[in-house]
């Protein structure tokens, strides 16, 4: 009477076994591990293993196993103590070229992993770590862009030999004043042609004395600027995070001008903040030897091609406005000590263009001085510029050279790190920070797990008492639902957070609803005097549309949650939606299959245990 065709049973068995299989990796836990990557993203040389292992043997440290995946090596250890000790040992053995990061590696067996099995990722609130939401200071980025236009226009006018009265910023645009109509026409032509002056909306503007050009930056250009600035910032942040050595960081764009940075396992937020938020870069400029800096400082008459700075001893110094090399032409930087003086230094490697410019400059300027300016951009558009060293060019050089004048080794190594990682295109501000210590994370895991178990067991017991055999069937379905949900979350790579656990708990509560609806219907049908078999069928049939309607409306609410929520709320929405879907399967098809097996074959069922 009530029987499923064989394929339905097969389907159910198949789905359930897949569920069990993909939920399995969550049972294996994690190993403390170390992840070794190249600081520059190169592939790890094959002989590195030997280096690492020699160093470990010397310290009498044993590791559990190792694996190589693309450009990273992973060493697993038996205990966290071993892991921490080994971290220091390996760092020392490999030096700055490699990054050693603490990691908790999943202990899932290889055969399971090769079939795509992986455990759920734990959110920061469960494993501890830092979450930053950073906002790009777009106003400053725009203002910088405007300054760049002004500088470029001046330089181009000088190069073309067009004399101008002034070129300056005027509100949100720039204003150029010229003496004649002809000059203005050729300037307009220049703006049209010059690559570096694209994206301006130009109009003529006459004053009483002069012929002016007023220009504003096109909205499209600003949007483009915003996009590239954000993209470059994300790249830079990624580089920096790699430099700090964090396993499995998350760096993502959020909205038009924000970036989420998540660093699992990082405890020292002070240090992380300093490195992530820093906007330091270096500029190399020629010293203006033709004019006297002291006179310029006293009379406040500064030659137009130069700017006045204070050198590292606080004395005024005139530096040429024209850059020799800027931080973005740097491709490598390492900290070390000057072999002669013992001073901390940063050795710098330039890219092709930078190297050529540096070579051109130094060849023509042997005996002249060159200054290194350290620039730090603070949120809000303030900028500090500091001359950290002024040195005489003794011989021409290009690609590689040293910069000295740093206060300490720590400063040198931080500068080297920042130079390696690249500068931020626009300053960033931390607008949200969430740090969870490891002890709280562990507590959350324990409490989350405990509350799920207790809630689950309460419902199981209650259902079994209330609906007897049918209740036990519903219990099986509930268990299957939990397994399927965990399997889905694992394969989708969803991150498990505390609200996510709450979502699971809530689904457990609501998943029984479908069964309650069905069972109450069956009871009703029985009360109305129908035969047990007919009641089962009618119960399932009639309850279906109710269950569908009720669940779809809940899905709508969950979907809206997903759209509007951030981070943890999204996690809750995902678990809730998935839970509704899996519960539809287990509570309707799953229980029907079991009920059919129990009662379906019997010709005369006298009584249902419901």
């Amino acid at each position: 009477m009530n029987q499923y065709p064989a394929w339905k049973y097969l389907l159910i068995v198949l789905i359930l076994s897949l569920g069990v299989f993909y939920a399995l990796p969550n049972l294996f836990g994690e190993d403390p591990a170390l992840q070794v990557t190249s600081a520059r993203g190169f592939t790890i040389p094959l002989d590195l293993d030997a280096n690492i292992e020699d160093a470990l043997v010397v310290e009498n440290l044993a590791f559990k196993n190792k694996e190589r995946a693309g450009n990273r090596m992973l060493y697993r250890f038996n205990s966290t103590e071993d892991q921490l000790r080994a971290s220091d040992v390996i760092k020392q053995a490999l030096g700055e070229q490699y990054v050693v990061a603490l990691n908790l590696a999943h202990a899932t067996p290889t055969w399971l992993r090769s079939l795509g099995g992986k455990p759920m990722t734990m959110g920061l609130d469960l494993q501890g770590g830092v979450h930053f939401l950073m906002q790009v200071d777009m106003d400053t980025a725009r203002s910088q862009q405007l300054d760049r236009y002004v500088d470029d226009l001046r330089a181009s006018l000088r190069d073309e030999g067009i004399r101008y009265v002034s070129v300056r910023r005027e509100g949100n645009g720039l204003l150029a004043l010229l003496r004649s109509v002809e000059d203005r026409t050729s300037t307009l032509e220049l703006i049209r042609k010059d690559q570096s002056l694209q994206g301006l909306d130009v109009s003529e503007l006459d004053t009483e004395e002069y012929f002016g050009i007023s220009a504003t930056v096109l909205e499209a250009q600003l949007l483009e600027l915003q996009k590239t600035a954000l993209q470059q910032n994300i790249n830079t942040l990624r580089n920096r995070v790699n430099e700090i050595g964090v396993a499995e960081p998350v760096i993502q764009q959020q909205g038009a001008d924000r970036v989420v940075v998540q660093l699992p396992g990082v405890q020292d937020t002070v240090d992380a903040k300093k490195i992530i938020g820093a906007t330091a870069t270096l500029e190399y400029r020629a010293v203006d030897e033709a004019n006297d800096a002291f006179t310029a400082a006293q009379t406040a008459r500064i030659p137009p091609e130069s700017r006045l700075y204070n050198d590292e001893r606080g004395q005024p110094i005139l530096l040429k406005k024209r850059l020799i090399v800027a931080g973005d032409q740097l491709i490598g930087a390492n900290s070390g000590f000057d072999q002669q003086t013992g001073q901390p230094q940063v050795s710098v490697t330039l890219d092709g263009v930078g190297a050529k410019r540096m070579l051109d400059f130094t060849r023509d300027n042997v005996g002249n001085r060159m200054a290194v300016v350290y620039i730090e951009q603070k949120p809000g558009g303030r900028k500090t510029e500091e001359v950290i060293s002024v040195a005489v060019v003794r011989e021409p050089f290009g690609k590689r050279f040293q910069t000295t004048g740093l206060d300490s080794m720590a400063e040198a190594s931080q500068l080297a790190l920042l130079l390696r990682a690249g500068a931020l295109a626009a300053p960033m501000e931390i607008v949200e920070e969430r740090t969870v210590g490891p002890s709280l994370g562990a507590d959350n895991v324990e409490q989350g797990f405990k509350s799920v178990m207790i809630g689950f067991i309460l419902v199981l017991v209650f259902m079994a008492f209330y609906y007897r055999v049918f209740g036990l069937v519903a219990d099986m379905a509930l268990f299957a639902n939990l397994v399927l949900l965990v399997a889905l979350l694992s394969t989708l790579g969803a991150t498990l957070t505390m609200p996510g656990i709450a979502g699971i708990v809530l689904t457990v509560g609501m998943a029984v609803d479908a069964n309650v609806l069905i069972f109450e219907r069956i009871r009703e049908e029985l009360r109305n005097g129908n035969t047990p078999q007919a009641s089962i069928r009618a119960g399932y049939d009639k309850a279906f549309s109710t269950i569908a309607d009720a669940n779809i409306t809940t899905l709508i609410a969950a979907f809206v949650l997903f759209l509007f929520g951030t981070g943890p709320i999204k996690g809750f929405a995902v678990t809730l939606s998935l839970g509704i879907l899996t519960s539809m399967f287990t509570a309707i098809m799953g229980t029907r299959a079991v009920v059919n097996l129990i009662y379906g074959g019997q010709k005369r069922v006298r009584k249902l245990a419901i």
Binding site: Q267, T269, V270, K273, G277, P379, R382, E429, I430, V431, E432, E433, R434, T435, V436, G437, S439, L440, S451, G455, F456, L458, V459, F462, F465, Y466, M498, P499, A502, V505, L506, V508, G509, M510, V512, D513, L517, E520, R523, E524, Y540, F544, S545, A548, D549, A550, N551, T553, T554, I556, A557, A558, V560, L563, F564, G565, T566, I569, L576, I588
Partner: protein, 314 residues
């Protein structure tokens, strides 16, 4: 085991005047409480900094305050959190102005470490800038509004507009009353509570839809009955299911509330209140509204067919 052994025949709708008064009182007092007492907005909305640390031995709160004041944090609120050795420090956003907004936590952690024997373990740091807080409020309200619109449309398609009005009225009732309770008890209103409120919407709706479904089914079945009788019968027929589901959900929520830890407390509490209010509202608010709007069997004839095709699926 059965709570309701026989077919119940309680005259729910006969008491709808009383329920109406009760709902009106609940809503009005909730609004009054919300207007006068304000929700206890958490860090997510107000912005500011929160730092939780755990000391080896319970410190003197006054010492902690003094250390913080010396570090320039005069507005810091210091409380114990769970255990006496766990301390939470809250710094309001007006202290957090300027460039070093994110550095506040660093300063506080430094100050807390002063003259303490044994280690001070950082449990968590939360900093929310003022920009973020304002956006969250906006997003939270938008989320609720969009959820209500989506639900209204779906119910209109599957049932009829009177049902949409009934369902949404019940939901608005639930949200207002639940928030009223939160304001009354000054439960901290953070992001997880917003999630809980949306889950309450989902849950209460679930109840309402089940009832509406039965009403739709009963209209053609009980041809001679008045609309009021049909609704009453439907409420009675779904009563045991309503109770069962509420009980199981409350069981797991209590587990979350008791064992889930401090962080999930407000979330679980909101849901518990919401489930209770939601169960009541689907019986009284949703169906009373339906009746007041003059629902009749003619409202559902066209849609009935669609329901029938769905019914035949397993």
């Amino acid at each position: 085991m059965k709570f309701l052994n026989k077919k119940t025949n309680i005259d729910f709708m006969g008491k709808r005047k009383i329920a109406f008064v009760l709902s009106a009182v609940l809503i009005v007092s909730s609004i009054v409480i919300l207007a006068t007492k304000d929700l206890n907005f958490g860090l997510d909305f107000t912005g500011g900094t929160l730092i939780e640390v755990s000391y080896a031995t319970a410190p003197e709160i006054s010492d902690v305050r003094e250390n913080l004041a010396n570090a320039g944090m005069t507005d810091a609120v210091v409380q114990t959190f769970g255990a006496a050795s766990d301390i939470v420090v809250r710094i309001p956003p007006k202290d957090v102005e300027g460039e070093n907004s994110a550095e506040i936590s660093t300063i506080v952690l430094g100050a807390l470490q002063q003259d303490v024997e044994g280690e001070v373990v950082m449990r968590r740091v939360e900093f929310v800038g003022p920009q973020v807080g304002d956006e969250l409020t906006e997003q939270g309200i938008l989320a609720v509004v969009y959820a209500l619109i989506g639900i209204f449309l779906y119910v209109m398609i599957r049932f009829q507009w009177r049902f949409s009005v009934g369902a949404v009225t019940a939901l608005v009732h639930d949200i207002i009353v639940t928030m009223g309770v939160l304001a009354l008890l000054q439960v901290e209103f953070d992001l997880t509570v917003v999630a809980a409120l949306l889950a309450v919407i989902g849950y209460s709706l679930n109840d309402t839809i089940v009832l509406f479904d039965r009403i739709r089914e009963n209209f053609p079945r009980l041809r001679k009955a008045t609309s009021l009788e049909v609704v009453n019968t439907s409420v009675n027929e779904t009563l045991s299911r309503t109770l069962m589901t509420s009980i199981t959900t409350l069981l797991v929520l209590s587990a979350l509330f008791i064992f889930g830890g401090e962080i999930i407390h407000a979330f679980a509490f909101t849901l518990i209140v919401g489930v209770l209010v939601g169960t009541y509202s689907s019986i009284y608010v949703a169906s009373t509204t339906l009746l007041e709007l003059g629902v009749s069997k003619f409202d559902l004839l066209a849609v009935e067919k669609e329901g029938a095709t769905l019914d035949s699926m397993p």
